[in-house]
Symmetry: C2
Subunit: 325 residues, 2 copies
């Protein structure tokens, strides 16, 4: 069933007090980098579990807990599984996290720290889904999809809702919201959140991991062979059916960014906004900087998470050690 | 004239809307590092100009502007001068920033970017004060001291006020607030802010830059020969007379921390709270981690700023590249 804006509002009400209402951060220096456009950064790297995925995880696990479900299984490149692990712990439920063998060490350790049983399964989402099916049969636990799930989409949507709300509270309004795209749950939620408002939603994908852009071109979900990217959270081969159904009607466009742009955005977020964001979140900032070149008005940027390996940060900083930007 | 809590409240009212009400950030992982004590981080690295010094700068420059003062001169190790530069620009006033020759490049560039005339004068506060006296005579502009100034103290105090307010709003209360000590303006303001509440204020100084600790021991302001420290903002040789007058009556104690503890705290803030803080701010977190060992209750930490050279961040991260903590 395709969720609606009413479902998003209901999720927001339920999640209030259960998730952090993360701050919206601005930086005059960053706005300069955007040609004077005002950027509003929704700092979901400060969310519990280190990413906005905790919103959808709490919402979906909370509902399963109400129905007496004993445990949950989550496969993802990292943040969804981490978020499910923490949400399950909050509800006294068991959790199994199925991650790719090349997931960032930080992400594996976080899922483990939150008490999840860890299973590493191949490199692709297909390999992980096979593992999930086996576990579901074996344990009777319920799998929570990372994006093809109405509660997950509605949960992620609440980040955009809070962003819009905070900008309005400060007497401004957004003309654009920019969201990184992996499986499409966050961007689908954002499309629901802005419904009825004059706000353009843009997705951002790494070059070569552009399932959403290609799917929109073709009018149906298209698989790609994901190319290597520093944005480890944006590698799904194919966007979800449910997100695609929502996104096709609500999105203004998709921006493709390079790893070099993503890494530069990580540095800009750090030096100017003083925020550590993971590459997948920095992709949104990179996309916003591109859009700022020819879009008027204020731009909201969903900085989706901050779970990044120290070694990646060192490498990204050392590329231009001593140089800001 | 020694400012009072009433002056702090007046400053807070005037500054509302002129400064960022910065978020208070928590991290379950950081609390674990503090032995389960709850840490509340006041993220003044997200303040305009990159540090909480903007509060005192806006308050003092705002008052000078009302009196028709054409320009201001500020000497400091960096953040006060940067903050004065931005505050002056906001009021259409000229500003001259007198900085040590070894100030972080980031800080010199920021003061310049905000339109200040830059003068580099020696290494010590005495050398800078000689330069300030010359400039005052030459230009007729007014010098705003970095800490020995009631408006500056009252301005800095508002950060602690907001921290107390936010923690209360979230249904908790602080037993301790920890503040880094350079010239003592911030810790003096914090003592005023908590007056009448059962909250212990602790200052933190780098080993060998412990003018406040020694002054408290002797009962009068004592000069030290500042030893080298990574915390470039905490190097004044002597605390201010006015801050000392307030602090001696209100402080619970001073913690001395090593550079190794400061750099570790920078890493913890980055990996767990996802915040880039400068070494002087990390000193407060290092002090809080020490205090957590034998103080019960929730601890508020004033993360005073985030203006740090990329090269310093790279070095601090590379010490233990790949290792969290």
């Amino acid at each position: 069933m395709v969720p609606t804006q009413a479902d998003v509002l209901e999720a927001a009400e339920w999640l209030a007090g259960r998730v952090v209402r993360t701050p919206v951060v601005s930086s005059a220096e960053l706005d300069q980098q955007a040609g004077g456009r005002r950027l509003w950064l929704k700092a979901e790297n400060l969310q519990r579990s280190g990413s906005y995925k905790f919103r959808g995880a709490m919402r979906s696990v909370g509902r399963l807990a109400e129905r007496g479900c004993p445990g949950v299984i989550a496969q993802s490149t990292g943040n969804h599984a981490i978020a499910i692990a923490l949400a399950a712990r909050e509800h006294g439920m068991l959790a199994t996290a199925v991650l790719p063998v090349d997931a960032p060490r930080t992400k594996i350790e976080l899922a483990e720290a939150y008490g999840a049983r860890i299973m590493l399964a191949g490199h692709t989402v297909e390999e992980r889904l096979i593992a999930v099916r086996g576990l579901t049969r074996e344990t009777g636990q319920v799998a929570v999809d990372a994006y093809d799930h109405p509660d997950v989409i509605c949960g992620q949507a609440t980040a955009a809702l809070e962003l819009l709300d905070e900008v309005a509270r400060q007497g401004s309004r957004l003309s654009t919201v920019v969201v990184p795209v992996g499986g499409g749950g966050g961007v689908a939620g954002t499309c629901l959140a802005v419904q009825g408002l004059d706000v353009a939603v843009y997705g951002v994908e790494p070059e070569g991991c552009d399932s959403m852009a290609r799917s929109l071109e073709q009018g149906r979900p298209i698989s790609v062979v994901p190319q290597p990217t520093v944005a480890d959270g944006l590698r799904p081969a194919r966007v979800g059916d449910l997100p695609f159904e929502i996104v096709r009607k609500g999105i203004a466009g998709v921006v493709r960014v390079t790893d070099a742009e993503i890494e530069r955005a990580m540095r800009l977020a750090l030096w100017h906004a003083k925020l550590l964001v993971e590459p997948s979140a920095a992709a949104a900032l990179a996309g916003a900087l591109r859009l700022a070149e020819d879009q008027p008005g204020d731009i909201g940027v969903l900085l989706t998470g901050g779970n990044v390996d120290p070694a990646v940060v060192s490498r990204v900083l050392n590329v231009e050690a001593g140089v800001v930007g």
